[in-house]
Structures are given as structure tokens and as C-alpha cells.
């Protein structure tokens, strides 16, 4: 055994050497070395927390909520890059065809992202999450808002780059809200992220096609126009549905595999 310079293992030496006695546990040290090791292990095994998570933790006053936010599937880098790619294609399409592709794509992307933010359809440990101090509804709210805000920003950026008329640059935010709410309601009611995506996209497709059939103009179909109160009511209904779907009385907790 290496260690201290000049120390032997011989009994005669150990009898007079404080160091070797301590090592052999013979000195009745009142220091809790187990507790020390636990502290060391905690630091050695842990992953370093990035500045984004630390800042979020302080702003939200909850490191748990911050981490739940940063582990949202639709906020992961891969998802964001995919969204950016889709919107980039939309911008190009708008440039070439003049049709409002960005306004068409953005709400769909948001709806899908919201459906993939939370719930048993996407979270394998969902049942456990429902027993946590940071409640699953708080997590849902935080994730939903963050995903929506991020998608709105991305959409706006794409819109500005595409250089569309003012109405088209902002107008699709209203349908986006409604489509996101549809995605949320679908995902929470059916306890399946994929169902949420399907509901959101199908709903959006129907709105656009119906609007286009009526006015023969895609641009008008993607902006709220006279239908604003309907969007408002629709969004509210979806949110109520989501609230119902996440309350504690629903005894069916299907587990995603």
C-alpha cells in the first residue's frame, strides 16, 4: 500500500504512529466520515447545472419547476431546430409563391409542440409526477406557456423575414392560440400526445379549408377577421376541457409505454 512516506505495516510502527492508527480506525475519531463521503458522492455524481436552469430556478423560485421546464420534449434543441427548419421552408415557399405559408405553418407547429409538452402521452413517469409537491398542473402551465411563447416568437421572426403584410405577420397568432388549446385539450383528454397533435392539426386544417372555401383566399383564411369571437370561445372551451382532464377525479390513469 502506498501512502505516507516511510510508514511500514509492522506492528511496532503502528503502535507508535498516529497516522497508521487513524487509518486502521483505532483512534475513535469523532468525525462522521460516512456523511463526508455522501457529500463527496453527491458532488461527484451530479451533473453540472447550466446557467439557463439556474436563472430559471431563481426567476420561478423553484429549481424543480425550472428543471421540469428544461426537460420539456418540445423545448429540446432537436425539436427547436426542426421547427426552425420547417419555418425556413415556409419562408422560402412564401417568397416563391406569395401564399402565406408561414401563417399556415406556425399554428400547426405550435399545436404539435403543445401536445408534446406534457402528460401521460409523453411522460413515462406521469403517475409519479401527479404525486409531487410541484404539481403536474403547475408544470403543465409553465411548459404550455413557454412552448407557446417560443413558437410565437419563432413564427414572428419567420413572418418578418418573409416580409408579409402586417395582418399576416401578426394575424395568425389568434388561430395559433386556438390550435394550441386544441392540442392541449386533445393531449390531456386522450392522455396521448399523438392524439393531441392529430386534433390540433386536423382542427387547423378544417378551419383553413373552410375559410378558403368561403373566401377563395388563403390569406383571409389564416387570419381571424370576423371569426375572432369564435376563436375566443373555442380557446376557452379547450382550456376548460384541459382543466377537467387534469383534475384529480379522473380515476383512469393509463400508463404510457
Amino acid at each position: 500500500m502506498g501512502g505516507m512516506h516511510g510508514h511500514s505495516d509492522g506492528a511496532a510502527h503502528v503502535a507508535t504512529c498516529a497516522d497508521c492508527q487513524a487509518r486502521a480506525g483505532l483512534r475513535g475519531l469523532d468525525v462522521d466520515l460516512n456523511r463526508v463521503w455522501i457529500g463527496v458522492a453527491g458532488e461527484v455524481w451530479a451533473r453540472e447545472v447550466g446557467w439557463v436552469e439556474r436563472t430559471a430556478g431563481r426567476l420561478l423560485r423553484s429549481p424543480g419547476l425550472a428543471r421540469a421546464l428544461l426537460t420539456t420534449p418540445s423545448l429540446l434543441l432537436s425539436w427547436l431546430l426542426a421547427s426552425v427548419a420547417v419555418l425556413a421552408i415556409g419562408v422560402l415557399a412564401t417568397h416563391t409563391s406569395g401564399e402565406p405559408w408561414v401563417a399556415l405553418l406556425a399554428p400547426g407547429l405550435a399545436g404539435a409542440a403543445i401536445a408534446y409538452a406534457y402528460g401521460p402521452g409523453i411522460d413515462p413517469a406521469f403517475e409519479l409526477s401527479r404525486s409531487m409537491v410541484v404539481s403536474d398542473r403547475v408544470v403543465l402551465l409553465a411548459r404550455g406557456l413557454a412552448v407557446f411563447a417560443l413558437n410565437a416568437l419563432l413564427g414572428l421572426a419567420a413572418s418578418l423575414v418573409a416580409g408579409q403584410a402586417v395582418g399576416l405577420t401578426w394575424g395568425w397568432l389568434v388561430p395559433m392560440t386556438m390550435v394550441s388549446a386544441l392540442g392541449l385539450a386533445g393531449a390531456t383528454l386522450a392522455r396521448s400526445a399523438n392524439t393531441g397533435v392529430a386534433v390540433a392539426l386536423a382542427g387547423w386544417a378544417m378551419i383553413v379549408l373552410a375559410g378558403r372555401a368561403e373566401t377563395r383566399d388563403l390569406a383571409a383564411a389564416v387570419t381571424p377577421g370576423d371569426l375572432l369571437p369564435l376563436y375566443f370561445v373555442g380557446t376557452a372551451l379547450c382550456l376548460v376541457a384541459a382543466l377537467y382532464a387534469t383534475n384529480g377525479r379522473r380515476s383512469e390513469v393509463t400508463l404510457w409505454r
Binding site: 501512502g3 505516507m4 487509518r23 469523532d30 468525525v31 463521503w37 461527484v44
Partner: protein, 177 residues
């Protein structure tokens, strides 16, 4: 596995080897620190020490026994702790604390002294002044202020002479000091 292999494994990211190192070395390091610090302070310093070992295992150059390297880190962490808690007296004691402790037993103390005397002899005649210094600080365990007074020099001079002597002892003894 011997200590060098363990430390190499730690440097490669093996946390189980760190555990092994801890089991071997924590008791005596804690024992030494305990002579100067209260139990809870010892625990804090020990934790800082072994986390520092985990992070700095790659910096071990292999110049001496692993135990001495570990003790060097522990001493540094203890000095940092002392500074954070405004314990300048502790900081000083730690700075001059030899890797090898003054043993409680007279026989061991004699053995220590013999080793020291032998090492100093090895340094040559110009070590006479240093011999006196070593005797006062390490063999008689006097506080630095006393030593300064006895030698008629400022404390700072004592400290820098100690630094030199320790360097030479280290070279003569091969890493133990």
C-alpha cells in the same frame, strides 16, 4: 490496486476508485485535521478535499507518495476554510504543519527527530542555521512568534527560511516533507 493506479483511475473518471482512495486515506487525513479543527469543520474540509481530488486528479505528477499529495490538498483546503472563517491563527499553523505529524509518543518523537537530524546532516554544514530553526519549530513545536523572538528576526523571515528549509528537506527525504 496501489494508490498510483487508483489515482490514475480517478483521473480517468472512475468514481469507485475515488471511493477506494477515500476509504484508505480519509481516516488519517481527518485524524490530522482533527488536531486543529472541530469535527464539523473537519467534515467540511474533508468534503472539499476529496471533491478537489476528483477534479484535480489529472494534475498529480507522480513526484512523491499519493498520501503526501492528498495531504497537500487537504492542508490547502483547510487553510481556505480558515481564511473564510477569519481564523488567521489556524492558517499559520497549517502552513507550517509538516506532512509528518509530531507523534504523541516519545519514542516516535525520537524517531522523528532522528530522521530529521539525519536529513539535516545530509544537507551539509551550511545547514547549521537551518538546523536551529528546524529544532525550534518542528522538534520543540514552538509557535512562530516565539521562534522569531528567540532568533531575533521578524516572523516573516522565519516563514521564508522555513519555506527554504522545507524545500531542501523535501529534496533530501524524497517527498515526505
Amino acid at each position: 490496486m496501489d494508490d498510483d493506479a487508483l489515482l490514475a483511475a480517478v483521473a480517468a473518471g472512475d468514481d469507485q476508485s475515488l471511493r477506494e482512495l477515500f476509504e484508505r486515506h480519509a481516516p488519517w487525513v481527518a485524524g490530522r485535521l482533527r488536531r486543529l479543527l472541530a469535527p464539523s469543520a473537519v467534515e467540511d474540509v474533508m468534503q472539499e478535499t476529496f471533491v478537489a481530488i476528483w477534479r484535480g486528479a489529472r494534475t498529480y505528477q507522480g513526484g512523491g507518495p499519493v498520501g503526501a499529495w492528498i495531504w497537500g490538498i487537504a492542508r490547502r483546503q483547510a487553510a481556505l476554510w480558515a481564511r473564510r472563517h477569519g481564523r488567521a491563527d489556524l492558517e499559520r499553523s497549517l502552513e507550517t504543519m509538516l506532512e509528518r505529524p509530531a507523534a504523541d509518543d516519545p519514542a516516535a518523537a525520537a524517531a522523528n527527530r532522528a530522521d530529521l537530524a539525519q536529513a539535516l546532516d545530509g544537507l551539509g554544514p551550511e545547514a547549521d542555521a537551518q538546523r536551529e530553526l528546524v529544532r525550534l519549530v518542528y522538534v520543540e513545536d514552538r509557535p512562530l512568534a516565539d521562534v522569531a523572538r528567540l532568533l531575533g528576526v521578524p516572523e516573516g523571515t522565519v516563514k521564508s527560511r522555513l519555506f527554504t528549509v522545507r524545500g531542501r528537506l523535501r529534496a533530501a527525504l524524497g517527498g515526505g516533507y
